[in-house]
Protein backbone atom coordinates (compact mmCIF):
# COMPACT_ATOMS: atom_id res chain seq x y z
CA UNK A 1 0.00 0.00 0.00
CA UNK A 2 1.55 3.29 -0.97
CA UNK A 3 1.52 6.62 0.78
CA UNK A 4 -1.31 8.14 -1.27
CA UNK A 5 -3.52 5.10 -0.64
CA UNK A 6 -3.18 5.61 3.10
CA UNK A 7 -4.10 9.29 2.75
CA UNK A 8 -7.05 8.34 0.56
CA UNK A 9 -8.36 5.91 3.18
CA UNK A 10 -7.94 8.52 5.92
CA UNK A 11 -9.97 11.07 3.93
CA UNK A 12 -12.55 8.45 2.99
CA UNK A 13 -12.92 7.47 6.65
CA UNK A 14 -13.30 11.12 7.69
CA UNK A 15 -15.97 11.67 5.04
CA UNK A 16 -17.98 8.54 5.77
CA UNK A 17 -17.80 8.70 9.57
CA UNK A 18 -18.72 12.37 9.74
CA UNK A 19 -21.55 11.83 7.24
CA UNK A 20 -22.82 9.05 9.47
CA UNK A 21 -22.71 11.36 12.48
CA UNK A 22 -24.54 14.06 10.52
CA UNK A 23 -27.56 11.82 10.09
CA UNK A 24 -27.49 10.02 13.43
CA UNK A 25 -26.80 12.79 15.94
CA UNK A 26 -29.77 14.26 17.80
CA UNK A 27 -28.33 17.75 18.15
CA UNK A 28 -28.93 19.86 15.06
CA UNK A 29 -25.87 22.08 15.64
CA UNK A 30 -23.68 19.00 15.92
CA UNK A 31 -25.04 17.81 12.57
CA UNK A 32 -24.08 21.10 10.98
CA UNK A 33 -20.57 20.94 12.42
CA UNK A 34 -20.01 17.32 11.38
CA UNK A 35 -20.93 18.42 7.88
CA UNK A 36 -17.77 20.54 7.96
CA UNK A 37 -15.63 17.41 8.20
CA UNK A 38 -17.61 15.72 5.43
CA UNK A 39 -16.98 18.63 3.07
CA UNK A 40 -13.35 18.72 4.08
CA UNK A 41 -12.88 14.98 3.45
CA UNK A 42 -14.46 15.27 0.01
CA UNK A 43 -12.11 18.17 -0.79
CA UNK A 44 -9.17 15.98 0.25
CA UNK A 45 -10.31 13.25 -2.13
CA UNK A 46 -10.56 15.80 -4.95
CA UNK A 47 -6.96 16.82 -4.28
CA UNK A 48 -5.86 13.18 -4.52
CA UNK A 49 -7.63 12.95 -7.88
CA UNK A 50 -5.57 15.87 -9.18
CA UNK A 51 -8.56 18.22 -9.26
CA UNK A 52 -7.06 20.96 -7.12
CA UNK A 53 -9.31 23.75 -8.39
CA UNK A 54 -12.48 21.76 -7.64
CA UNK A 55 -11.13 20.90 -4.19
CA UNK A 56 -10.51 24.53 -3.28
CA UNK A 57 -13.89 25.55 -4.75
CA UNK A 58 -15.47 22.84 -2.60
CA UNK A 59 -13.94 24.36 0.54
CA UNK A 60 -14.66 27.95 -0.49
CA UNK A 61 -18.29 27.39 -1.48
CA UNK A 62 -19.43 24.66 0.89
CA UNK A 63 -17.41 25.40 4.03
CA UNK A 64 -17.03 29.15 3.59
CA UNK A 65 -20.48 29.83 2.20
CA UNK A 66 -23.15 27.22 2.65
CA UNK A 67 -22.05 25.78 5.99
CA UNK A 68 -21.66 29.21 7.60
CA UNK A 69 -25.10 30.20 6.32
CA UNK A 70 -26.50 26.95 7.70
CA UNK A 71 -24.88 27.58 11.09
CA UNK A 72 -26.27 31.11 11.20
CA UNK A 73 -29.70 29.79 10.39
CA UNK A 74 -29.52 27.10 13.04
CA UNK A 75 -28.01 29.29 15.74
CA UNK A 76 -30.43 32.16 15.28
CA UNK A 77 -33.44 29.89 15.71
CA UNK A 78 -34.94 29.88 19.15
CA UNK A 79 -34.68 26.27 20.27
CA UNK A 80 -31.48 24.52 19.36
CA UNK A 81 -31.00 21.54 21.63
CA UNK A 82 -34.53 20.37 22.30
CA UNK A 83 -35.85 20.59 18.77
CA UNK A 84 -37.56 17.44 17.57
CA UNK A 85 -36.00 16.58 14.25
CA UNK A 86 -37.44 13.07 14.02
CA UNK A 87 -40.65 12.63 12.12
CA UNK A 88 -43.38 10.60 13.75
CA UNK A 89 -43.92 8.14 10.93
CA UNK A 90 -41.16 5.81 9.81
CA UNK A 91 -41.58 4.03 6.50
CA UNK A 92 -38.98 1.31 6.61
CA UNK A 93 -40.04 -0.60 3.52
CA UNK A 94 -40.24 2.25 0.96
CA UNK A 95 -37.03 3.70 2.36
CA UNK A 96 -35.23 0.37 2.00
CA UNK A 97 -36.48 -0.06 -1.59
CA UNK A 98 -35.52 3.49 -2.61
CA UNK A 99 -32.07 3.22 -1.04
CA UNK A 100 -31.59 -0.20 -2.60
CA UNK A 101 -32.43 1.07 -6.08
CA UNK A 102 -30.15 4.07 -5.67
CA UNK A 103 -27.26 1.95 -4.38
CA UNK A 104 -27.80 -0.53 -7.18
CA UNK A 105 -27.67 2.23 -9.78
CA UNK A 106 -24.48 3.66 -8.27
CA UNK A 107 -22.80 0.22 -8.16
CA UNK A 108 -23.83 -0.56 -11.76
CA UNK A 109 -22.43 2.76 -13.00
CA UNK A 110 -19.25 2.17 -10.99
CA UNK A 111 -18.71 -1.29 -12.49
CA UNK A 112 -19.54 -0.31 -16.07
CA UNK A 113 -17.48 2.85 -16.27
CA UNK A 114 -14.00 2.46 -17.71
CA UNK A 115 -11.86 4.21 -15.14
CA UNK A 116 -8.69 5.93 -16.21
CA UNK A 117 -5.82 4.92 -13.99
CA UNK A 118 -2.52 6.69 -14.34
CA UNK A 119 -0.98 6.10 -10.96
CA UNK A 120 2.31 7.98 -11.11
CA UNK A 121 1.40 10.86 -13.45
CA UNK A 122 1.94 14.30 -11.96
CA UNK A 123 -1.35 16.20 -12.02
CA UNK A 124 -1.37 19.01 -14.56
CA UNK A 125 -2.52 22.49 -13.72
CA UNK A 126 -6.23 22.65 -14.27
CA UNK A 127 -7.12 26.28 -13.57
CA UNK A 128 -6.09 27.69 -16.96
CA UNK A 129 -8.00 25.00 -18.83
CA UNK A 130 -11.10 25.46 -16.72
CA UNK A 131 -10.96 29.20 -17.35
CA UNK A 132 -10.60 28.76 -21.11
CA UNK A 133 -13.42 26.23 -21.30
CA UNK A 134 -15.75 28.38 -19.20
CA UNK A 135 -15.32 31.34 -21.55
CA UNK A 136 -15.40 29.38 -24.83
CA UNK A 137 -17.33 26.10 -24.97
CA UNK A 138 -19.49 26.59 -21.88
CA UNK A 139 -19.94 30.35 -22.02
CA UNK A 140 -23.73 30.17 -22.37
CA UNK A 141 -24.13 28.01 -19.25
CA UNK A 142 -21.67 30.22 -17.41
CA UNK A 143 -23.60 33.38 -18.26
CA UNK A 144 -26.94 31.77 -17.43
CA UNK A 145 -25.63 30.72 -14.01
CA UNK A 146 -24.39 34.25 -13.45
CA UNK A 147 -27.83 35.68 -14.29
CA UNK A 148 -29.51 33.10 -12.06
CA UNK A 149 -27.33 34.08 -9.11
CA UNK A 150 -27.97 37.78 -9.78
CA UNK A 151 -31.73 37.18 -9.84
CA UNK A 152 -31.47 35.27 -6.56
CA UNK A 153 -29.50 38.14 -5.00
CA UNK A 154 -31.99 40.78 -6.14
CA UNK A 155 -34.87 38.62 -4.94
CA UNK A 156 -33.29 38.16 -1.52
CA UNK A 157 -32.64 41.89 -1.20
CA UNK A 158 -36.19 42.82 -2.19
CA UNK A 159 -37.70 40.30 0.25
CA UNK A 160 -35.50 41.63 3.04
CA UNK A 161 -36.49 45.25 2.37
CA UNK A 162 -40.24 44.75 2.00
CA UNK A 163 -41.21 45.56 5.61
CA UNK A 164 -39.73 49.03 5.62
CA UNK A 165 -42.23 50.69 3.25
Amino acid sequence: MNFYDIIFYIFAAITLLSALFVVTTRNIVHSAFYLLFTFFGVAGIYVLLGADFIAISQILIYVGGILILLLFGVMLTNKITNVEIRTGTVHMLPAAIATGIFMGAVVVVMVWTEWKSEPSATPLTTTTNIGHLLLTDYVLIFELLGILLLVALIGAASIARRDKE
Binding site: H30, L36, D52, F53, L60, G65, I68, L71, F72, T125
Partner: protein, 355 residues
Protein backbone atom coordinates in the same frame (compact mmCIF):
# COMPACT_ATOMS: atom_id res chain seq x y z
CA UNK B 1 12.16 22.53 -0.05
CA UNK B 2 10.07 19.37 -0.16
CA UNK B 3 12.10 17.98 -3.04
CA UNK B 4 15.35 18.69 -1.19
CA UNK B 5 14.16 16.97 1.97
CA UNK B 6 12.75 14.10 -0.05
CA UNK B 7 16.10 13.56 -1.74
CA UNK B 8 17.82 13.77 1.63
CA UNK B 9 15.54 11.42 3.57
CA UNK B 10 13.90 9.34 0.86
CA UNK B 11 10.61 9.07 2.72
CA UNK B 12 7.55 10.98 1.51
CA UNK B 13 5.73 11.09 4.84
CA UNK B 14 8.76 12.21 6.84
CA UNK B 15 9.76 14.84 4.27
CA UNK B 16 6.20 16.21 4.17
CA UNK B 17 6.02 16.43 7.95
CA UNK B 18 9.38 18.19 8.12
CA UNK B 19 8.23 20.76 5.57
CA UNK B 20 5.16 21.37 7.72
CA UNK B 21 7.34 21.94 10.79
CA UNK B 22 8.99 25.03 9.27
CA UNK B 23 5.91 27.30 9.18
CA UNK B 24 4.81 25.93 12.56
CA UNK B 25 8.11 27.05 14.07
CA UNK B 26 7.75 30.42 12.38
CA UNK B 27 4.23 30.90 13.80
CA UNK B 28 5.30 29.89 17.31
CA UNK B 29 8.36 32.13 17.36
CA UNK B 30 6.43 34.96 15.74
CA UNK B 31 3.60 34.66 18.29
CA UNK B 32 6.08 34.84 21.17
CA UNK B 33 7.83 37.80 19.60
CA UNK B 34 4.61 39.43 18.37
CA UNK B 35 2.88 39.45 21.75
CA UNK B 36 5.97 41.00 23.33
CA UNK B 37 6.18 43.53 20.48
CA UNK B 38 2.53 44.44 20.89
CA UNK B 39 2.98 45.10 24.60
CA UNK B 40 6.06 47.20 23.96
CA UNK B 41 4.42 49.14 21.09
CA UNK B 42 1.32 49.85 23.16
CA UNK B 43 3.44 50.83 26.14
CA UNK B 44 5.63 53.25 24.23
CA UNK B 45 2.61 54.81 22.53
CA UNK B 46 1.08 55.45 25.93
CA UNK B 47 4.35 56.78 27.37
CA UNK B 48 4.96 53.69 29.51
CA UNK B 49 7.77 51.16 29.40
CA UNK B 50 5.81 47.90 29.26
CA UNK B 51 7.35 44.62 30.49
CA UNK B 52 10.91 45.35 31.65
CA UNK B 53 11.87 42.75 34.25
CA UNK B 54 12.24 39.40 32.45
CA UNK B 55 15.30 39.59 30.25
CA UNK B 56 16.55 42.59 28.27
CA UNK B 57 13.60 45.00 28.00
CA UNK B 58 11.33 42.13 29.00
CA UNK B 59 11.83 40.02 25.90
CA UNK B 60 11.34 36.81 27.92
CA UNK B 61 7.97 38.00 29.25
CA UNK B 62 5.91 35.97 26.76
CA UNK B 63 8.00 32.86 27.45
CA UNK B 64 7.27 33.26 31.15
CA UNK B 65 3.57 33.79 30.40
CA UNK B 66 3.58 30.65 28.28
CA UNK B 67 5.12 28.64 31.13
CA UNK B 68 2.38 29.90 33.40
CA UNK B 69 -0.30 29.14 30.83
CA UNK B 70 0.84 25.54 30.39
CA UNK B 71 0.41 24.90 34.09
CA UNK B 72 -3.14 26.25 34.28
CA UNK B 73 -5.97 23.94 35.20
CA UNK B 74 -8.14 23.12 32.22
CA UNK B 75 -11.59 24.32 33.25
CA UNK B 76 -14.63 23.44 31.16
CA UNK B 77 -17.91 25.08 32.10
CA UNK B 78 -20.59 22.60 33.20
CA UNK B 79 -23.08 23.60 30.53
CA UNK B 80 -20.56 23.76 27.72
CA UNK B 81 -20.78 21.36 24.82
CA UNK B 82 -17.58 19.45 25.60
CA UNK B 83 -16.82 17.88 22.21
CA UNK B 84 -17.18 21.06 20.20
CA UNK B 85 -15.58 23.11 22.98
CA UNK B 86 -12.42 21.02 22.68
CA UNK B 87 -12.34 20.87 18.87
CA UNK B 88 -12.89 24.61 18.28
CA UNK B 89 -9.43 25.98 19.25
CA UNK B 90 -7.74 23.29 17.15
CA UNK B 91 -9.92 24.13 14.17
CA UNK B 92 -9.23 27.85 14.43
CA UNK B 93 -5.50 27.21 14.66
CA UNK B 94 -5.63 24.71 11.78
CA UNK B 95 -7.27 27.33 9.57
CA UNK B 96 -4.60 29.89 10.29
CA UNK B 97 -1.70 27.38 10.08
CA UNK B 98 -2.94 25.83 6.83
CA UNK B 99 -2.60 29.16 5.03
CA UNK B 100 1.17 28.93 5.55
CA UNK B 101 1.33 25.82 3.34
CA UNK B 102 1.54 27.94 0.18
CA UNK B 103 3.28 31.11 1.38
CA UNK B 104 6.77 31.42 -0.18
CA UNK B 105 9.23 32.64 2.45
CA UNK B 106 12.03 32.68 -0.12
CA UNK B 107 12.60 31.16 -3.53
CA UNK B 108 13.84 27.97 -1.86
CA UNK B 109 11.65 27.87 1.25
CA UNK B 110 8.11 27.31 0.14
CA UNK B 111 5.89 24.48 1.21
CA UNK B 112 3.68 23.63 -1.73
CA UNK B 113 4.22 25.03 -5.20
CA UNK B 114 0.56 24.72 -6.17
CA UNK B 115 -0.66 26.86 -9.01
CA UNK B 116 -3.69 28.08 -7.10
CA UNK B 117 -2.00 29.34 -3.94
CA UNK B 118 -3.92 32.60 -3.74
CA UNK B 119 -7.28 30.91 -4.18
CA UNK B 120 -6.30 28.34 -1.54
CA UNK B 121 -5.44 31.01 1.03
CA UNK B 122 -8.83 32.70 0.59
CA UNK B 123 -10.67 29.38 0.81
CA UNK B 124 -8.85 27.91 3.78
CA UNK B 125 -9.44 31.00 5.91
CA UNK B 126 -13.12 30.02 5.99
CA UNK B 127 -12.16 27.22 8.38
CA UNK B 128 -11.38 29.96 10.90
CA UNK B 129 -14.95 31.28 10.64
CA UNK B 130 -16.39 27.81 11.27
CA UNK B 131 -14.03 27.37 14.24
CA UNK B 132 -15.01 30.72 15.72
CA UNK B 133 -18.72 29.92 15.42
CA UNK B 134 -18.03 26.55 17.03
CA UNK B 135 -16.14 28.15 19.92
CA UNK B 136 -18.81 30.76 20.49
CA UNK B 137 -21.71 28.36 20.43
CA UNK B 138 -20.19 25.50 22.41
CA UNK B 139 -19.18 27.66 25.38
CA UNK B 140 -22.89 28.26 26.08
CA UNK B 141 -22.28 31.83 27.12
CA UNK B 142 -24.21 34.75 25.67
CA UNK B 143 -21.09 36.90 25.28
CA UNK B 144 -19.35 34.10 23.43
CA UNK B 145 -22.28 33.55 21.08
CA UNK B 146 -22.65 37.26 20.35
CA UNK B 147 -18.93 37.58 19.74
CA UNK B 148 -18.92 34.59 17.40
CA UNK B 149 -21.89 35.94 15.44
CA UNK B 150 -20.25 39.33 15.07
CA UNK B 151 -16.95 37.72 14.07
CA UNK B 152 -18.53 35.53 11.43
CA UNK B 153 -20.63 38.37 9.95
CA UNK B 154 -17.61 40.66 9.88
CA UNK B 155 -15.19 38.15 8.36
CA UNK B 156 -17.65 37.11 5.65
CA UNK B 157 -18.44 40.73 4.74
CA UNK B 158 -14.83 41.81 4.56
CA UNK B 159 -13.87 38.79 2.47
CA UNK B 160 -15.62 40.48 -0.47
CA UNK B 161 -13.34 43.56 -0.82
CA UNK B 162 -10.31 41.33 -0.14
CA UNK B 163 -11.35 38.92 -2.86
CA UNK B 164 -12.03 41.77 -5.31
CA UNK B 165 -8.57 43.26 -4.83
CA UNK B 166 -7.00 39.80 -5.07
CA UNK B 167 -8.98 39.31 -8.28
CA UNK B 168 -7.67 42.55 -9.76
CA UNK B 169 -4.12 41.47 -8.92
CA UNK B 170 -4.75 38.08 -10.51
CA UNK B 171 -5.96 39.87 -13.65
CA UNK B 172 -2.88 42.07 -13.61
CA UNK B 173 -0.30 39.31 -13.02
CA UNK B 174 -2.11 36.52 -14.87
CA UNK B 175 -1.35 33.84 -12.30
CA UNK B 176 -2.71 32.51 -9.01
CA UNK B 177 0.65 31.17 -7.87
CA UNK B 178 2.14 33.18 -5.01
CA UNK B 179 5.65 32.16 -6.01
CA UNK B 180 5.20 33.38 -9.59
CA UNK B 181 3.73 36.69 -8.42
CA UNK B 182 6.81 37.15 -6.23
CA UNK B 183 9.17 36.25 -9.06
CA UNK B 184 7.63 38.87 -11.34
CA UNK B 185 8.56 41.74 -9.01
CA UNK B 186 12.28 41.12 -9.03
CA UNK B 187 15.46 43.25 -8.98
CA UNK B 188 14.28 46.59 -7.57
CA UNK B 189 11.50 48.13 -5.50
CA UNK B 190 10.48 50.10 -8.59
CA UNK B 191 9.23 46.78 -10.04
CA UNK B 192 6.89 46.02 -7.16
CA UNK B 193 3.23 45.77 -8.03
CA UNK B 194 2.38 48.79 -5.91
CA UNK B 195 4.52 50.78 -8.36
CA UNK B 196 2.79 49.29 -11.37
CA UNK B 197 4.69 46.05 -11.91
CA UNK B 198 7.85 45.16 -13.78
CA UNK B 199 6.85 46.14 -17.33
CA UNK B 200 8.04 49.67 -18.05
CA UNK B 201 5.68 51.85 -20.07
CA UNK B 202 2.69 54.17 -19.98
CA UNK B 203 0.48 51.61 -18.22
CA UNK B 204 2.93 51.40 -15.33
CA UNK B 205 2.52 55.09 -14.50
CA UNK B 206 -1.24 54.98 -15.00
CA UNK B 207 -1.49 52.03 -12.63
CA UNK B 208 0.39 53.49 -9.67
CA UNK B 209 -2.52 55.43 -8.04
CA UNK B 210 -4.93 52.52 -8.45
CA UNK B 211 -2.41 50.06 -7.06
CA UNK B 212 -1.95 52.23 -3.98
CA UNK B 213 -5.74 52.44 -3.50
CA UNK B 214 -5.93 48.66 -3.91
CA UNK B 215 -3.21 48.10 -1.34
CA UNK B 216 -4.99 50.37 1.14
CA UNK B 217 -8.33 48.61 0.60
CA UNK B 218 -6.86 45.15 1.05
CA UNK B 219 -4.95 46.26 4.14
CA UNK B 220 -8.14 47.64 5.70
CA UNK B 221 -10.25 44.64 4.88
CA UNK B 222 -7.69 42.08 6.02
CA UNK B 223 -7.35 44.06 9.24
CA UNK B 224 -11.06 43.44 9.72
CA UNK B 225 -10.68 39.77 8.80
CA UNK B 226 -8.19 39.16 11.58
CA UNK B 227 -10.44 41.04 14.04
CA UNK B 228 -7.95 43.74 14.91
CA UNK B 229 -8.78 47.22 16.17
CA UNK B 230 -10.52 49.32 14.80
CA UNK B 231 -12.54 46.30 13.65
CA UNK B 232 -12.46 44.33 16.91
CA UNK B 233 -16.16 44.32 17.81
CA UNK B 234 -16.14 40.48 18.03
CA UNK B 235 -13.95 40.67 21.11
CA UNK B 236 -14.74 44.19 22.29
CA UNK B 237 -13.63 43.85 25.88
CA UNK B 238 -15.82 46.66 27.21
CA UNK B 239 -18.97 44.99 25.86
CA UNK B 240 -18.33 41.27 25.46
CA UNK B 241 -15.60 40.38 28.02
CA UNK B 242 -13.45 38.63 25.38
CA UNK B 243 -15.91 37.66 22.67
CA UNK B 244 -15.93 34.13 21.37
CA UNK B 245 -13.14 32.88 23.63
CA UNK B 246 -14.54 34.25 26.91
CA UNK B 247 -14.88 30.80 28.48
CA UNK B 248 -11.51 29.42 27.41
CA UNK B 249 -8.50 29.19 29.67
CA UNK B 250 -5.00 27.78 29.71
CA UNK B 251 -3.50 26.42 26.54
CA UNK B 252 -6.83 26.35 24.68
CA UNK B 253 -7.00 30.09 25.06
CA UNK B 254 -3.36 30.10 23.98
CA UNK B 255 -4.33 28.38 20.71
CA UNK B 256 -6.70 31.28 19.90
CA UNK B 257 -3.91 33.71 20.65
CA UNK B 258 -1.50 31.74 18.41
CA UNK B 259 -4.12 31.69 15.65
CA UNK B 260 -4.64 35.43 15.94
CA UNK B 261 -0.95 36.21 15.64
CA UNK B 262 -0.53 33.57 12.93
CA UNK B 263 -3.33 35.23 10.97
CA UNK B 264 -1.81 38.67 11.44
CA UNK B 265 1.46 37.54 9.89
CA UNK B 266 -0.31 35.54 7.18
CA UNK B 267 -2.36 38.49 5.90
CA UNK B 268 0.71 40.73 6.07
CA UNK B 269 2.58 38.14 4.03
CA UNK B 270 -0.20 38.03 1.42
CA UNK B 271 -0.25 41.83 1.09
CA UNK B 272 3.53 41.93 0.81
CA UNK B 273 3.46 39.24 -1.89
CA UNK B 274 0.69 40.95 -3.85
CA UNK B 275 1.95 44.51 -3.66
CA UNK B 276 5.37 44.77 -2.04
CA UNK B 277 7.40 42.23 -3.97
CA UNK B 278 7.12 39.23 -1.67
CA UNK B 279 10.56 37.86 -0.87
CA UNK B 280 12.31 40.07 -3.42
CA UNK B 281 14.88 42.50 -2.13
CA UNK B 282 14.20 46.20 -2.82
CA UNK B 283 17.85 46.98 -3.59
CA UNK B 284 19.40 43.82 -5.09
CA UNK B 285 21.21 40.96 -3.43
CA UNK B 286 24.53 40.90 -1.65
CA UNK B 287 24.94 37.25 -2.65
CA UNK B 288 24.77 38.10 -6.36
CA UNK B 289 27.26 40.92 -6.17
CA UNK B 290 29.95 39.09 -4.18
CA UNK B 291 29.40 35.85 -6.07
CA UNK B 292 27.99 33.63 -3.32
CA UNK B 293 24.70 32.37 -4.77
CA UNK B 294 23.79 30.30 -1.72
CA UNK B 295 23.33 33.52 0.26
CA UNK B 296 20.43 34.74 -1.92
CA UNK B 297 17.64 32.53 -0.47
CA UNK B 298 18.61 33.59 3.05
CA UNK B 299 18.51 37.24 2.06
CA UNK B 300 15.09 36.64 0.49
CA UNK B 301 13.87 35.08 3.72
CA UNK B 302 15.15 38.12 5.61
CA UNK B 303 13.36 40.57 3.31
CA UNK B 304 10.14 38.58 3.44
CA UNK B 305 10.06 38.50 7.22
CA UNK B 306 11.09 42.17 7.39
CA UNK B 307 8.20 43.20 5.13
CA UNK B 308 5.77 41.01 7.05
CA UNK B 309 6.90 42.45 10.38
CA UNK B 310 6.67 46.00 9.07
CA UNK B 311 3.02 45.46 8.12
CA UNK B 312 2.36 43.76 11.47
CA UNK B 313 3.84 46.81 13.14
CA UNK B 314 1.40 49.03 11.23
CA UNK B 315 -1.45 46.81 12.44
CA UNK B 316 -0.29 47.24 16.05
CA UNK B 317 0.21 50.96 15.55
CA UNK B 318 -3.41 51.30 14.35
CA UNK B 319 -4.64 49.20 17.27
CA UNK B 320 -3.27 51.65 19.79
CA UNK B 321 -4.27 54.75 17.81
CA UNK B 322 -7.82 54.32 16.56
CA UNK B 323 -11.07 53.85 18.51
CA UNK B 324 -13.33 50.90 17.80
CA UNK B 325 -16.08 51.18 15.16
CA UNK B 326 -19.72 50.50 15.94
CA UNK B 327 -21.45 47.57 14.23
CA UNK B 328 -23.38 49.76 11.79
CA UNK B 329 -20.29 51.85 11.01
CA UNK B 330 -18.36 48.63 10.41
CA UNK B 331 -20.89 47.38 7.87
CA UNK B 332 -21.14 50.82 6.26
CA UNK B 333 -17.38 50.97 5.75
CA UNK B 334 -17.42 47.55 4.11
CA UNK B 335 -20.53 47.66 1.92
CA UNK B 336 -20.79 51.35 1.04
CA UNK B 337 -17.15 52.35 0.68
CA UNK B 338 -14.70 49.45 0.34
CA UNK B 339 -16.73 47.25 -2.02
CA UNK B 340 -17.67 49.99 -4.56
CA UNK B 341 -14.11 51.32 -4.55
CA UNK B 342 -12.75 47.80 -4.97
CA UNK B 343 -15.10 47.21 -7.92
CA UNK B 344 -14.09 50.44 -9.65
CA UNK B 345 -10.46 49.61 -8.99
CA UNK B 346 -10.97 46.15 -10.48
CA UNK B 347 -12.43 47.55 -13.68
CA UNK B 348 -9.81 50.29 -14.07
CA UNK B 349 -6.88 47.93 -13.43
CA UNK B 350 -8.40 45.54 -15.96
CA UNK B 351 -8.71 48.25 -18.62
CA UNK B 352 -5.19 49.61 -18.03
CA UNK B 353 -3.72 46.11 -18.12
CA UNK B 354 -5.11 45.74 -21.65
CA UNK B 355 -3.20 48.78 -22.93
Amino acid sequence: MYQFLYDLIGNEILAGLLVAVVPLTIILVFALFGIWLERKVSAHMQDRLGPMRTGWHGWLQTVADLMKMLQKEDIIATDADKTLYNIAPVLVFTGSFAAYAVIPFSSKLLGSEVEIGLFYVIAISSLVVAGILMAGWSANNKYSLLGAMRAAAQIISYEIPTALIVLSMVMFTGTLSLDKISQMQTSSFWNWNIFGGAIFGLSKFLLIPFMIVGALIIFTSTLAEVNRVPFDIPEAESELVAGYFTEYCGMKWGMFMLAEYGNMFAVSAIISILFLGGYQSPIGYLGNSIGTQWLVPFEQGFWFIAKGLALVFVQMWLRWTLPRLRVDQLMTVCWKYLIPFAFINLIIIGIISLI
